[in-house]
Amino acid sequence: MAEISKQQVKHVAHLARLAITDQEVEVMTKQLGDIIHYAELLNDLDTSQVEPTTHVLDLKNVMRKDEPRKWIDREDALKNAPDQHDGQFRVPSILE
């Protein structure tokens, strides 16, 4: 496994929707590099014959009846929003 580069850190920050400063890129490159280096410990183990565990309970798709029921209304849904207009969440422009 390769070291993580500054370029990769910037790319990952974009994917994670985080704005990071140049200084944070420096720190993050070192810290993530250290953590990933540490995680390479796992390569000591041969897991070619091991199934992954995503979840410890023996649960498959849990379905319920598709019935309408009362939940929060529009007014309530909007009351913690930073910005709203005409009963909807307002956001900055999506298109340039």
Partner: protein, 493 residues
């Protein structure tokens, strides 16, 4: 004697024969908070007016009350939503989340038993941390010595119980976040089996690991609290549909013939377990021998891989779960955004602290194209090996016992600059979450120099909380660590 030294059962008797009122209990809670919370900083939000009003109403219903939790003041970790009461998750991002729309299932269940919620408890931001130093607000202090951390992430929940600010609290545990602070603060903390307690309304960190559990002063109280919150919930699709036993029945049985496994890795210098902690655990095992149990050394050979696997898995799940904090529906929004993507990025960067950003970055990386198999899937396979280690031991033993943490509490500021050193602190609690089994911490000693509590960890089979309570109760009855209290000022009555 202060009212906080009574068990839930004793309190109910005193409420019934009118020696005490609910109002007095709730007032005692707020008096203690006023007296000591400047030092401890366990609470983020208080619910005083509503709590005292509810107490008055409950005082009129005392004669009909028939539940051990009736009228008892409690605190809730601030990552469980409370209808109409600010819920911050210890994060600046949710500093303005003043009006949550519903109660978490656990909060709803406790409300139905007429507990009185006095406030929301401090925590590491989004439950990411082992010291409370990652709270965006302030660092909760250890009631035994305020130079030391209370542990994390449920540091406020454990400190508030230890400091007698509330009778009990709820915490959540993803990699040790109930057990480690319970150990550091000298109280009883249980992480139930994954799926036993509903996660509906718990702000998700790592969904395949998170579990809510009770923090109390005694084992018996802990069993009563778990009874109230356990059970299937249709609102949580990972909630297990299993029959819930009466946990307090387990307290009537002894531990004669009980088979205890002691993993050699959990007493090892290599894992950083210090001498005092090892001695305290060995002394506890001697107590169990005297009570008629037997113990043998075993191996959980994949223990040393648990921390690495955990940080990859938990961070990956967190990076997906925390995508919901986008500044659109709740939380803070940046004031200077050019377009929507810019708004997402700036809002998140302004609202999240360093550790949360670091874990989102790590998780996003581990899930990203080209790295998924090497990191995320590899960690899931190692999780299988760790789970198999536990399954194998439980074929021959009833419980596993070891320390909860390698050392007692460390000083505020001591580990904050080095993420990997901080992570290593969770080495004995993380495997339990990866395996999904229940684990509990109870007090088993104090360090000589600083007088800080040491925690004994008891780990059980899936859905076998009853055995944990039986084993913990036997030790508690034979010792008096749980009767020690930190030397703080406050309520004396």
């Amino acid at each position: 004697m202060s009212v906080f030294e009574y068990t839930l059962k004793e309190l109910q008797a005193k409420l019934h024969n009118k020696e005490l009122t609910v109002t007095e209990l709730v007032q005692a809670s707020f008096d203690q908070i006023e007296a000591v919370d400047d030092q401890i900083k366990a609470f983020l939000t208080l619910n005083k007016e509503a709590a005292l009003k509810q107490a008055q109403q409950l005082d009129e219903q005392v004669d009909q009350a028939n539940h051990p939790l009736f009228g008892i003041p409690i605190g809730i970790k601030d990552n469980m939503v409370t209808k109409g009461i600010r819920t911050t998750c210890g994060s600046q991002f949710l500093s303005n989340f003043n009006d949550p729309l519903y109660d978490a299932t656990v909060v709803d269940k406790l409300n139905k038993e007429n507990t009185v919620m006095v406030g929301k408890l401090n925590m590491d931001e989004f439950a990411m941390g082992s010291s409370n130093e990652n709270s965006s607000y302030y660092t909760t202090r250890n009631p035994w010595n305020t130079d030391y951390v209370p542990g994390g992430s449920s540091g406020g929940s454990a400190a508030a119980v230890a400091a007698r600010e509330v009778f009990f609290s709820l915490g959540s545990d993803t990699g040790g976040s109930i057990r480690q602070p319970a150990a550091f603060c000298g109280v009883v903390g249980l992480k139930p089996t994954y799926g036993l307690v509903s996660r509906f309304g718990l702000v998700a960190f790592a969904s395949s690991l998170d579990q809510i559990g009770p923090i109390t002063r005694t084992v018996e109280d802990n069993a009563h609290l778990l009874q109230a919150i356990a059970g299937h919930d249709p609102m949580d699709s990972t909630s297990a549909n299993v029959e819930i036993p009466t946990y307090s029945d387990a307290l009537k049985q002894d531990v004669k013939g009980l088979k205890i496994a002691v993993p050699k890795e959990y007493l090892s210098d290599q894992e950083g377990v210090n001498g005092e902690v090892r001695e305290a655990v060995l002394a506890a095992l001697k107590v169990y021998e005297e009570l008629g149990a037997t113990w043998e050394e075993v191996s959980l050979p994949h223990s040393k891989y648990a921390v690495a696997a955990y940080y990859l898995l938990a961070s990956s799940e967190a990076s997906a779960n925390l995508a919901r904090f986008d500044g659109v529906r709740y939380g803070v929004r940046t004031e200077n955004a050019d377009n929507m993507i810019d708004m997402f990025k700036k809002s998140r960067s302004e609202g999240f602290g360093d550790e949360v950003k670091r874990r989102i970055m790590l998780g996003t990386f581990a899930l990203s194209s080209g790295y998924y198999d090497a990191y995320y899937k590899k960690a899931q396979k190692v999780r299988t090996l760790i789970k198999n280690d536990f399954d194998k031991v439980f074929e021959d033993f009833d419980v596993i016992i070891g320390p909860t943490t390698p050392t007692p509490a460390f000083k505020v500021g001591e580990k904050v600059d080095d993420p990997l050193t901080m992570y290593a602190n969770d080495i004995l609690t993380i495997p339990v979450n990866l395996a999904g089994v229940p684990g509990m911490s109870i007090p088993c000693g104090f360090s000589k120099d600083a007088g800080l509590p040491i925690g004994l960890q008891i780990i059980g089979k899936h859905f076998d909380e009853s055995t944990l309570y039986r084993v913990a109760y036997a030790f508690e009855q034979a010792t008096d660590y749980h009767k020690q209290r930190p030397h703080l000022g406050g309520v004396k009555s």
